[in-house]
Amino acid sequence: MADGIVTLTTASFDETVNGSTTPVVVDFWAEWCGPCKMIAPILSEIAVEQSGNLTIAKLNVDENPDIAMRFNVMSIPTLLVFDDGEVKSRIVGAKGKGQLLQELNEFLPSSH
């Protein structure tokens, strides 16, 4: 968890997602996906800035294809936002930081 991002596996997935007190954003990614690499540093930044508000996690689809299949992930990067253990939002495709934050806004405590 060096970069503030939790690495999930098939074994730890349910426990992390169901047991979290904050919403969990799971980044479905793989080594061979160019756009996935482009959003990785943005997710690290968000993990640090929103520490305590959001948990940012990543799941390698190559190593954990069963989880990807369970949530019908057919394109990466896909971000699934879990709240109370349920998928509340699905963000498909790489996005810039501004747009990502906008899409995650409903899961953040209201500012001010």
Partner: protein, 313 residues
């Protein structure tokens, strides 16, 4: 507002080569590299969505597109280029210094190098938005993995389409290559590879008329370009590679361009119609459109820019 000698807009092979040259000329360039997306309009450009690049000189065993681009970026960083991962939202080229805006920052610049490249064309169907990421894909390298053992289709007939089709046979049980003409535009070596691949079936003289599926793609309605007859092809995955359009919407009214949107540069140079604004790479090239020609023209733009700055500042 911060001021720079050179701002480079775009970060494919053209922009990054310009950055390497400009940085080595001590021009301290700022590269506004764009924002991540899953189309080719993103940092690193079109090669971020490709697999193996076999024709870039210096890599006898080929190199992965994203790796090549990350290496170019590292090389530019090493010489002091700075990067901003944002999209330019507005330019002002009417007076000097030039004016450039991103989401929440403004810059002025003595010179600008435009290397915004081109992005993939989509089919233009309403159903596309609904099914993108649910069986419809613009990135074979990203998404091929999810179609292991399935029948899928690729639309297009150029190098990208043929490369994608060939790559996807690693996963799919069968790949239909749907092309509106009766011959491919792709290079001979790529054509031979596809035509000799037992998993690839050519579907000539055909276009995709509609996509089928609510939650996920179930098939496509194909229409013959010869007799307008239609038929349904059941596939769980469809990859679109039907060509590109230049990313020049931002420059409309600011820089001279051809009717199809490609920027006009003066012969044998990277000069645009605005003194101090240079263009390189696919954004001004509708003929060659290769990584190596983009890189070459990026080098030209940096040299043109350096000489222009010397003469004018």
């Amino acid at each position: 507002m911060s001021h720079r000698q050179v701002i480079i807009i775009g970060s494919g092979p053209a922009g990054l080569t310009a950055a390497i040259y400009a940085a080595r000329a001590n021009l301290n360039p700022l590269v506004i590299e764009g924002e991540p997306s899953s189309t080719s309009d993103q940092p690193g450009g079109q090669l971020m969505l490709t697999t193996e690049v076999e024709n870039f000189p210096g890599f006898p065993n080929g190199v992965m597109g994203p790796e090549l681009m990350l290496n170019m970026r590292q090389q530019a960083l090493r010489f002091g280029a700075e990067f901003l991962t944002e999209k330019v939202t507005k330019v002002g080229f009417g007076s000097r210094p030039f004016h450039i805006e991103v989401r929440d920052q403004q810059f002025s610049a003595d010179s600008v190098i435009v290397s915004t490249g081109a992005q993939s064309l989509m089919l233009g169907l309403e159903s596309e938005k609904r099914l993108l990421g649910h069986g419809l894909s613009t990135c074979a390298t990203c998404d091929g993995f999810f179609f292991r053992g399935q029948e899928i289709a690729v639309v297009g007939g150029g190098d990208s389409a043929v490369e994608e089709a060939t790559f996807l046979t690693k996963f799919a049980s069968k790949v239909y290559l749907i092309h509106r003409r009766d011959e491919l535009r792709a290079s001979k070596i790529m054509q031979d590879r596809a035509l000799n691949n037992p998993k690839i079936e050519m579907v000539w003289n055909t276009v995709v008329q509609e996509l089928i599926g609510d939650q996920k793609l179930e098939g496509a309605v194909l229409r013959s370009t010869v007799d307008d007859s239609t038929r349904t092809l059941n596939v769980g995955g469809l990859f679109v590679a039907i060509g590109h359009r230049p990313n020049t919407d931002l420059f409309r009214g600011h820089l001279e361009m051809h009717d199809n949107g490609y920027l006009i540069t003066k012969p044998d140079s990277s000069y645009t119609n605005v003194d101090g604004v240079f263009a390189c790479g696919d954004v001004q090239d509708q003929i060659y459109r290769q990584a190596i020609t983009a890189a070459g023209s990026g080098c030209m733009a940096a040299i043109d820019c350096e000489r222009w700055l010397e003469a004018n500042h």
